[in-house]
Amino acid sequence: MSGNGRSRSLGASLAASPSDQPAMCFDQATLAYDDRVVWSELSITVPRGEFLAVLGPNGSGKTSLLRALLGLAPLASGSLEVLGGPPRRGNPAIGYIPQHAGFDRDVPLRGRDLVGLGVDGHRWGFGRLSGEGRTRVEAALEAVAAGPYANEPIGRLSGGEQQRLRIAQALVGNPQLLLCDEPLASLDMRYQQEITELIGGWARDRRGTVVFVTHDVNPVLGYADRVVFVVNGRWAAGPTDEVLTSEKMSGLYDAPVEVLRVRGRIVVVG
């Protein structure tokens, strides 16, 4: 976070102002379902405004890490703080972008309706969006340049268009922390770049914090401040160049693994 010095000195006089606290802090955190340990004694602190890439093979607990942050998966031991407090369900300061699953062709929902659910879908009751809510929807649609197809049935849109609407849906609540669960899966290369730039650009412009789950680090290489790699219940965290090394990866996988850098891309060969 730039301007750190200023907020530190302010922090000293105001005690702990909320934006002084890290966006998230896992401390010796262990997550388990029944008896199966997903990851254990995870310790990682992400300052506000940073971009964290969460890497690892399928089933290694990347999504569980997001569920812990969302307050949907309680820890077995250790502690977790999110935006200065314990994780809790429905925290309005957290935006969430799921994997692109694709809507049914005929689902009666337009792009703007999906974004509108991000404003008030969680509130009980019945009724149209407020005027202020509609203004926010328009602004969010504009921010991802989804205006031209916002009135189309969402099931008829391309994967990339649907993901743009997902980003608008997550940002319409003006979050401080954005959690992305494989938002690039099943998108082609061009859309992968567009979607990553929208998320990375938001983090840069708004000094937002991003936790980005992906099985391929390459699309986010230019954005990630640090990575955490989880596999078989073990983990390694730190700057990309320090974690994605042959030595570290071999240790995590408990098998000889080579990390190659080819034309600006990182390839893990095991």
């Binding site: 969302l70 369900r89 799921p98 689902v107 929902l109 309706d113 991000g118 009724g127 997902r166 959690l179």
Partner: protein, 277 residues
């Protein structure tokens, strides 16, 4: 025929029936949108068929058949909710509960030994519902509408976008259970009009028709209620002046609406979703 209708309309029982028809249609129109979106037609069938058992059982011990239907479908909803909410196991659980429930129904009808009664419950006849039960029906429908109104927005969110809804703090599991209970009440109400076997004509067809017409959720809900109203009120009025049961007319009107929407949808295509917010 029109003269005959005008002659009948001033009667209190006809007016009560029409009021009940309007409320049941609103319930059916709202609920069928979610039944279609959540793929719950099999559950609707089970709720109705075990409702039949409840109805037969209550008549056997001298209680209200409407209340019996509500009890039967609520108990079924409870079992489905407790045994399986995940899609994967839901179908099997619904089938298991429905088969046993219907077996009990056979027993009750045999003990009562009046098969015309079975015909009435299976094929519906709002024209034979007693005055007291009609009032009960009106109260049940009004309560169901209130319940749906309270949970409409989070139910919509949890239906079209369950993963994000959960992340935003919507209690998706609780919503599933509450919807199942409201669905049980809606089934008990709609059965009074069209009967157990024809229940889907009010709890699927309106929602399926609306989906064909527009991608705007608010408009689709309005269209769904509209189709349910047209079919129910049209059916009741036509049945009053002819010798054919209500359910025949309701199913026919609903089916014609659906066909018209399917055939007309390509022409409407460019309007799909076009109207702004």
């Amino acid at each position: 025929m029109i003269d005959q209708l005008l002659h009948l309309l001033p009667y209190a029982f006809v007016q009560d029936m029409l009021v009940a028809g309007v409320l049941v249609s609103i319930v059916a129109g709202l609920v069928s949108r979610f039944v279609v979106a959540r793929n719950m037609s099999f559950a609707v069938h089970a709720l109705a068929e075990v409702g039949f058992t409840g109805s037969a059982g209550f008549i056997l011990i001298g209680l209200s058949p409407v209340l019996g239907l509500l009890t039967g479908s609520l108990v079924t909803a409870f079992f489905i909710g407790a045994l399986g909410l995940r899609i994967r196991e839901r179908d099997a659980v619904v089938g298991v509960v429905m088969a046993f429930g219907l077996g009990l129904g056979v027993l009750f009808i045999t003990l009562y030994a009046r098969y015309s009664l079975a015909f009435t419950i299976l094929f519906g006849a709002i024209t034979t519902v007693s005055q007291g039960d009609l009032m009960l029906l009106v109260a049940m429908a009004a309560l169901t509408i209130v319940g749906l109104g309270v949970m409409y927005r989070p139910l919509t969110f949890a239906t079209v976008d369950p993963v994000v809804a959960e992340a935003r703090g919507v209690p998706v599991r609780l919503i599933s259970i509450l919807f199942l209970l409201l669905l049980a009440a809606a089934v008990a109400e709609a059965v009074q009009v069209v009967g157990v076997l024809l229940i889907l004509t009010l709890l699927i067809t309106p929602g399926a028709t609306a989906e064909r017409l527009t991608a705007q959720p608010g408009l689709a809900t309005a269209a769904s209620v509209g189709v349910a109203l047209l079919a129910t009120l049209g059916g009741i009025l036509l049945a009053l002046v002819t010798a054919v049961p209500v359910s025949f007319y309701v199913t026919t009107i609903a089916f014609v609406c659906y066909l018209a929407a399917r055939l007309g949808a390509p022409a409407l295509g460019r309007f799909r979703g076009n109207p702004t917010a």
